[in-house]
């Protein structure tokens, strides 16, 4: 069953580059469609400026879109107000990238974890301590951390605290925006395993936003690849990695440095791309297919016509190579 459905979502920002210059539009998210199934991990991968974090913020209603629909269990999220919006926010929680910036440095851990309970009044005050203790245990921390401040913890421990806070209200969907990128390699694996245990334990769904393809391959069930505000390819994780169809997806997967113990030492695998090509800024998105200036397979329509998403082998793909005719 689908838990969340997103249709035609758009977010444009007005930017000024100088005091007197004319404002211009940045199309951060430009018509995005996807669905998140229950008890599944849906990942959005993309590079900086692709709009993936903006999507996360839109779904949580931290910012408002220009256009589009967001349905959570069939209810229109974008028109929610007052108590129903509050209820929605109980069901959908977020974990941010930087666990140093996302905990209040003046608040003890107990305060940070009990605050959601206070705001939403889901349990009587007498139960707060028990709830916080139980949640800390679940994320692998001792209950004596309750009386300590965030600066006393390492990055990995702080991310555990942020995960605990996101779970305090028993959400159904957790949006995790690059939750591993600021952590060391050995700690990333710990947190990733923790997320998997939690998902299996309490049957959560995740919207997992990341630029790290190996992490996404490991954790997610379905992937959407974003490039300059648009989803270029959506598919089941395994199929997408086995057979990437969109040229950008192919380039992304090929670019990941892999451990090649067997190969001759110090030999870079061949990768075909113009070395001068650069990701355009989201404020100057190219005409036609946004990827065409970097694409090795471009042909006539790519420079002028924006490719529409189409179904291909259970995949949704926006590329003229796979046009129907």
């Amino acid at each position: 069953m689908n838990l969340m459905e997103v249709r035609g979502l758009k977010k444009y920002f007005q930017m000024r580059s100088g005091l007197l210059s004319k404002p211009h539009q940045v199309r951060a998210v430009d018509g995005v469609d996807f669905t998140i199934d229950e008890n599944k991990v849906f990942a959005i991968v993309g590079e900086s400026g692709s709009g993936k974090s903006t999507v996360a913020r839109l779904l949580l209603r931290l910012i408002e879109p220009q256009e589009g629909d967001v349905l959570f269990k069939g209810t229109d999220v974008l028109t929610l107000k007052g108590d129903s919006l509050k209820a929605y926010r109980r069901s959908v929680q977020i974990i941010f990238q930087d666990p140093f910036a996302s905990l209040n440095p003046r608040m003890k851990i107990y305060g940070a974890l009990s605050e959601p309970l206070k705001i939403h009044r889901t349990v009587p005050k007498s139960e707060y301590r028990e709830r916080v203790r139980g949640m800390l245990q679940r994320v692998g921390l001792d209950s004596d951390v309750m009386e300590r401040y965030p600066h006393e913890f390492s990055g990995g421990q702080r991310q555990r605290i942020c995960i605990a806070r996101a779970l305090m209200l028993g959400p159904e969907l957790v949006v995790a925006d690059e939750p591993l990128s600021s952590l060391d390699v050995s700690i990333q694996a710990q947190i990733l395993n923790l997320l998997i245990h939690i998902k299996e334990d309490i049957g959560l769904s995740f919207l997992f936003i990341s630029h790290d393809l190996s992490v996404v391959q490991y954790f997610s069930d379905k992937i959407a690849v974003m490039y300059l505000g648009k989803i270029v390819e959506t598919g089941e994780t395994e199929e997408l990695f086995d057979n990437p169809m969109h040229p950008y997806t192919q380039m992304l997967i090929e670019s990941v440095p892999r451990i090649i113990g067997a190969a001759k030492a110090g030999q870079t695998p061949h990768r075909a791309e113009d070395p001068a090509a650069d990701t355009p800024s989201p404020s100057e998105i190219p005409e036609g297919c946004p990827f065409h200036p970097r694409c090795g397979k471009r042909f006539t329509p790519c420079t002028t016509i924006v490719p529409e998403p189409q179904q291909r082998n259970g995949r949704l793909i926006s590329c003229h190579l796979y046009a129907n005719d």
């Binding site: 900086s48 990995g156 050995s186 710990q190 490991y218 670019s255 990701t279």
Partner: protein
């Protein structure tokens, strides 16, 4: 020192505020024309080691032991002589192209400055050469882009400018400290290909400092794995990734997702701070193979096969 050795780090320890030891007697050699990888997590001492070689340790830090470059003992050089090496024979590429370029000078001038300082070029000649260098690092329309300021460029382009600056004087050694960490993965691939091309063309030596094992595996010929200011294991890249022996190296490799059905085995605990390291083996409190004697004395780094060094008492047992 062997023939063909360019840089020799010999028993170097680095201290902050006189007594906080962040690097503990490390030794390694870098040969002419090779890429030597240094891998470790935050705080393992990999960046300060590069700073010591470059001669840019902060005021409150100093090193003991010796660093030899082209046969010269660096500690015996005067400040003037060191300045003559820096940016000339030895140069550095930093992680953050945003913060390591001067925002109020054009990129062309920043490259030209190196040439004026070390080669005594006139400003006009140096600017012309800067444009050529921008072309070498594959920046489109270099003659125009020399007049750009850093903010007018993307992250990938700024890192190319850093590379242009680093290679301006044809250095023998480039210290690349996380040169692509701030970049997107497709841009990272481009920048590395570029660096590799230049390295091969000029037969430069590169010390590639990174936390990314994949990056080292694809690019370096030999590699040292650092933990808590020590080298834990070191070998040629193919051997290290095929037959890792140190539990930390194995732990790092098991922490990287390799595919959907291969379970992750993280290293428990957290990366220790230099002021609170465990007794004996510094990895003992996170190691799955720990024994009583690991806590008693720190194992020495010993050669278990030709060119393969390991710092663990369980050498024979943990061959994966």
């Amino acid at each position: 020192m062997r023939d063909g050795t360019l840089l020799s780090v010999d028993n170097v320890s680095i201290y902050f505020n006189r007594n906080l030891k962040v690097v503990n007697s490390i030794s390694f050699d870098v040969d002419k024309g090779e890429i030597f990888g240094v891998v470790g997590e935050s705080g393992c001492g990999k960046s300060v080691t590069a700073a010591a070689v470059m001669g840019i340790l902060p005021q409150n830090a100093h090193y003991e032991g010796e660093i030899y470059f082209e046969g010269k003992r660096l500690s015996a050089l005067t400040a003037e002589q060191r300045r003559g090496l820096r940016g000339n024979r030895i140069s550095m590429i930093f992680q953050e192209p945003m913060t390591s370029l001067n925002p109020v000078l054009t990129v062309g001038y920043q490259i030209a400055e190196v040439l004026m300082a070390h080669r005594g070029m006139s400003k006009n000649d140096a600017m012309a050469r800067a444009a050529e260098l921008l072309g070498d690092v594959k920046i489109p329309s270099p003659a125009l882009r020399v007049r750009d300021y850093p903010h007018q460029m993307s992250g990938g382009m700024r890192q190319r400018v850093m590379i242009a600056m680093a290679i301006a004087c044809n250095p023998a050694l480039v210290l690349a400290d996380e040169p692509t960490t701030a970049l997107d993965v497709t841009i990272q691939a481009q920048v590395l290909r570029l660096l590799r091309g230049i390295q091969e063309k000029f037969n430069m030596s590169v010390v590639l400092i990174t936390h990314d094992l994949g990056l080292v595996s694809e690019n370096a010929g030999r590699v040292a794995i650092m933990y808590a200011g020590r080298i834990m294991e070191s070998a040629d890249t193919a051997t290290l990734f095929k037959h890792p022996v140190h539990p930390y190296t194995i732990g790092l490799l098991n922490s990287i997702p390799k595919g959907r059905h291969i379970p992750l085995v993280p290293i428990p605990g957290f990366v220790p701070r230099p002021d609170s390291l465990p007794e004996g083996c510094k990895f003992s409190d996170r190691c799955g193979y720990v024994e009583k004697r690991c806590k008693e004395a720190e194992p020495a780094l010993i050669e278990i096969e030709k060119g393969h060094l390991n710092r663990c008492i369980l050498n024979d047992k943990v061959v994966s």
